[in-house]
């Protein structure tokens, strides 16, 4: 008799757990979004979550939303700032009355998952209804990172572009009169700007190691315009010679500057990227690859040297594409589970396509405007250094890293190969690229 009680108990516990499991198995955000009566003039309140946190940024958002509400007095917007992607993901998974209707994200890599899992609503029907042609409205690179396999589940809301920052004072001292345009010119400038000191450097022309802050493999590959996936979604990094070309060029530059170990030792003496101790600010490196936001930080700091910006150089055999750069940015979309999608679309449409809204936001937070009209707007007030990045954004050769079903996993795989190759851990590049492509394909298949 004693032995039967625990077994009954176990059965009861297991039964409850199985029931609970079956209950959870039926969950999932399959609910379709709803229309609301905002178009008929009825009052609707929507919730907008965004990730900006600095006072100037949140104020810029509030100003734009206030202007929106003035034009749409029946749509009330509840703004929730400083929301990290993890939190909005959880809220979108859970759904319910407290979930946001409109969400923005800084992580464009997640677009593939958001679109394919249909967590964010497909905006194509809304765009079509309002006669907005995305290809004529948004730069190609920005449009690319906001969609996945034709599902335009998000739209760009300001962008980032990457270019070259250079120390004009150091350039003058080294007798360089203009920023380099090709990799050959760049290498010559790096050599002239590098000043040795003991076992290290007094000044390094450029930090080529992939951990050199924004000098990541994907950002550098933006200068080549590679393909990452073919039409069937298979990795092309082993087949596209541009990837191998970058890896070889970078490794060659590392070697010319004294080797990986020497550069790594110098790199570990750098201060924080987003501080006054950034190696470009301190003069430790004379050239750096960075985004447009650096112009605002540098302008505020009153450095003891003159600096300027230019597009990052391109490979010699692609000299005609000079002016291009890597692009990414912020995306905004509508929760598929939202019951107020009509009103939510009006807000998304305003923030992403109203030229005045885009321009004022770009002016306020020093990001690149995300529509053609805004990029060409006379109300845009860039200084010459910021103008460089606007031109990069307009350049049709500028590129981005595409959305993938499993986020940025393919970039991590490629990065790891880059680290192994630059450090000498991997010496057979062809084999390394083939193995990495296989790893990427396996991960994508796993996510299907």
């Amino acid at each position: 008799m004693l032995s039967r009680r625990p077994s009954r108990l176990l059965a009861a516990v297991t039964g409850s757990a199985v029931l609970a499991l079956l209950a959870t198995a039926c969950t999932g955000t399959n609910s379709t979004g709803g229309q609301d009566d905002s178009a008929a003039g009825k009052d609707v309140t929507i919730t907008f979550w965004h990730g900006w946190s600095q006072d100037s940024e949140t104020k810029a958002i509030e100003d734009n939303v206030a202007a929106f509400q003035k034009a749409h007095p029946n749509i009330h917007v509840k703004i929730v700032p400083h929301i990290e992607d993890e939190k909005s993901e959880q809220a979108l998974r859970a759904g319910g009355a407290d979930a946001p209707d409109v969400v923005s994200s800084f992580t464009t890599d997640n677009v593939g998952k958001f679109c394919s899992a249909k967590v964010w609503a497909d905006l194509n029907p809304f765009l079509k209804k309002d006669g907005i042609d995305p290809a004529k409205t948004f730069p190609a690179a920005m449009l690319k990172y906001s969609q996945f396999q034709g599902n335009q589940c998000s739209l760009p809301l300001l962008g980032d572009a990457y270019g070259l920052y250079y120390n004009k004072t150091a350039f003058a001292a080294a007798g360089i009169t203009a920023p380099p345009k090709t990799f050959s010119e760049f290498e010559a400038a790096v050599a002239k700007l590098t000043v040795a000191e003991g076992d290290g450097f007094k000044q390094l022309g450029f930090m080529p190691n992939y951990h050199g802050y924004e000098t990541s493999i994907a950002h550098l590959l933006g200068q080549y315009g590679p393909s990452y996936f073919d039409g069937e979604g298979k990795s092309t990094i082993a087949a596209d010679p541009k990837v191998a070309a970058l890896l070889d060029w970078q490794k060659s530059l590392v070697g010319k500057l004294g080797g990986f170990e020497k550069l790594e030792k110098y790199r570990t003496g750098f201060g924080d990227e987003f501080s006054a101790k950034n190696p470009f600010h301190t003069g430790q490196v004379a050239m750096a690859m960075d985004g447009e936001w650096r112009t605002a930080a540098l302008a505020e700091e009153k450095l003891p040297f003159e600096w300027a910006t230019a597009p990052f150089p391109v490979p010699d055999d692609q000299a005609a594409t000079y002016g291009r750069g890597y692009q990414t940015g912020t995306i905004i979309g509508i929760a598929r589970g939202s019951q107020k999608q009509t009103a939510a679309w009006e807000l998304v449409k305003y923030l992403t396509t109203n030229t005045d809204a885009v321009v004022s936001f770009a002016n306020a937070i020093h990001n690149v405007p995300s529509t053609f009209e805004a990029l060409n707007s006379p109300k845009l007030t860039p200084d010459p250094n910021f103008r460089t990045f606007i031109d990069i954004a307009k350049n049709p050769n500028s590129g981005t890293t595409p959305a993938s079903l499993n986020g940025g996993a393919y970039q991590v795989s490629l990065q790891n190969l880059g680290f192994d190759y630059e450090s000498g851990k991997q010496t057979d590049l062809k084999a390394g690229l083939a193995a990495t492509a296989k790893e990427i394909d396996a991960a994508v298949n796993q996510a299907k």
């Binding site: 108990l9 999932g28 993901e89 990541s216 003496g269 990227e273 890293t401 940025g408 996993a409």
Partner: protein, 319 residues
């Protein structure tokens, strides 16, 4: 069978039912806790390890695909497993030995013991993220004071968190710095060892080592076992310090086109709990994350069972 057919008086039945209800009432807090926090999550983890589930759509059965992916295709799974086991063996051993050593030293201190206890306990109170960032600053190969000091002495200056050969030893140093919890437990155990046993051993001519071996250790061995078992379980869940150290040392903040590299440098700090996070919350592959979680569970159970069996064997032989 012999009892079949014998009528049970109604009063007795009611009494038994009342007793059963009372028993369940007393057991219910444990039953609820066990069901909600152990049985349900464990059964769910097993269930989802056989499902394709991205956290958004409804789960679908995919057989052994998640298991096959983790073992055959998931990058650096085996390296992460080796790192985790390295940390379990080295970190737990050194933490227990160091904690016991500090406990022994402090119990011998005649004056100012309180100050020493406080000094050794204080680091334990530091939040893990803050402590790791502080260590990354101190051990920065280029600008950190530790290497500056070593360099002044003419000693080699390791790359610490930036060198794959030194990253795990650096994490172990960090773990030993926060030894306060173990030190307090060992001190309490050491102070509980009966004085008369030491006196008897001294009368028999025992030296310091023999007293430690034949008096101290037998008395505190249950505490040592406790420290080892909890240490193994904690280290199997080692996540925060490894990921923070890697992130700070790499200088990579992450973002589009600049993905954070887990396990920096060269996968040397890549651990199984990081894989659970990476798979479950970055790649939206809940099924494979559950596979890793189950592997962690099985290894933890195996370590714990092995230690407890060895200990019960030792006790039996001592008896």
């Amino acid at each position: 069978m012999a009892l079949v057919g014998i009528p049970v008086p109604a009063a007795l039945k009611r009494k038994r039912r009342r007793e059963a209800l009372r028993t369940f009432a007393f057991l219910s807090p444990w039953l609820i806790g066990f069901s909600v926090f152990f049985a349900y999550p464990l059964i769910s983890t097993v269930y989802f390890s056989f499902m394709k589930y991205d956290g958004f759509s409804a789960p679908t059965f995919n057989g052994l695909q998640n298991w096959s992916y983790v073992f055959n295709d998931y990058p650096s799974f085996w390296q992460g497993l080796r790192n985790t086991l390295w940390l379990v063996v080295v970190m737990v051993t050194l933490r227990v030995a160091f904690g016991l050593g500090i406990g022994l030293l402090i119990t011998k201190v005649k004056t100012g013991a309180g100050i020493f206890r406080t000094l050794f306990y204080l680091p334990y109170l530091a939040p893990p993220v803050a402590a790791t960032i502080a260590f990354a600053f101190l051990l920065n190969p280029g600008t950190g004071p530790v290497n500056a000091f070593l360099g002044d002495l003419g000693l080699p200056t390791p790359g610490w968190f930036n060198d794959p050969d030194w990253s795990k030893p650096a994490l172990t140093m960090l773990a030993m710095w926060g030894i306060g919890d173990l030190m307090v437990i060992f001190m309490a155990a050491l102070l509980d060892v009966p004085r008369e046993q030491y006196e008897a051993a001294e009368l028999d001519g025992a030296g310091p080592w023999q007293k430690f071996r034949f008096v101290t250790m037998p008395n505190i061995s249950p505490i040592v076992l406790f420290a080892v078992v909890t240490g193994v379980i904690q280290t199997m869940q080692y996540y925060t310090q490894a990921i923070v150290a890697g992130k700070v040392a790499s200088g990579v903040i992450g973002g589009s086109g600049q993905q954070f590299e887990p396990g920096y440098p060269n996968g040397s700090t890549w651990t199984l709990p990081q894989m659970v996070y990476n798979l479950g919350f970055q790649r939206f592959d809940t099924g494979s994350a559950c596979v890793i979680a189950l592997i962690l569970f099985v290894i933890s159970m195996a370590f714990t069972s092995l230690l407890l069996r060895r200990k019960s064997g030792l006790l039996a032989s001592e008896d």
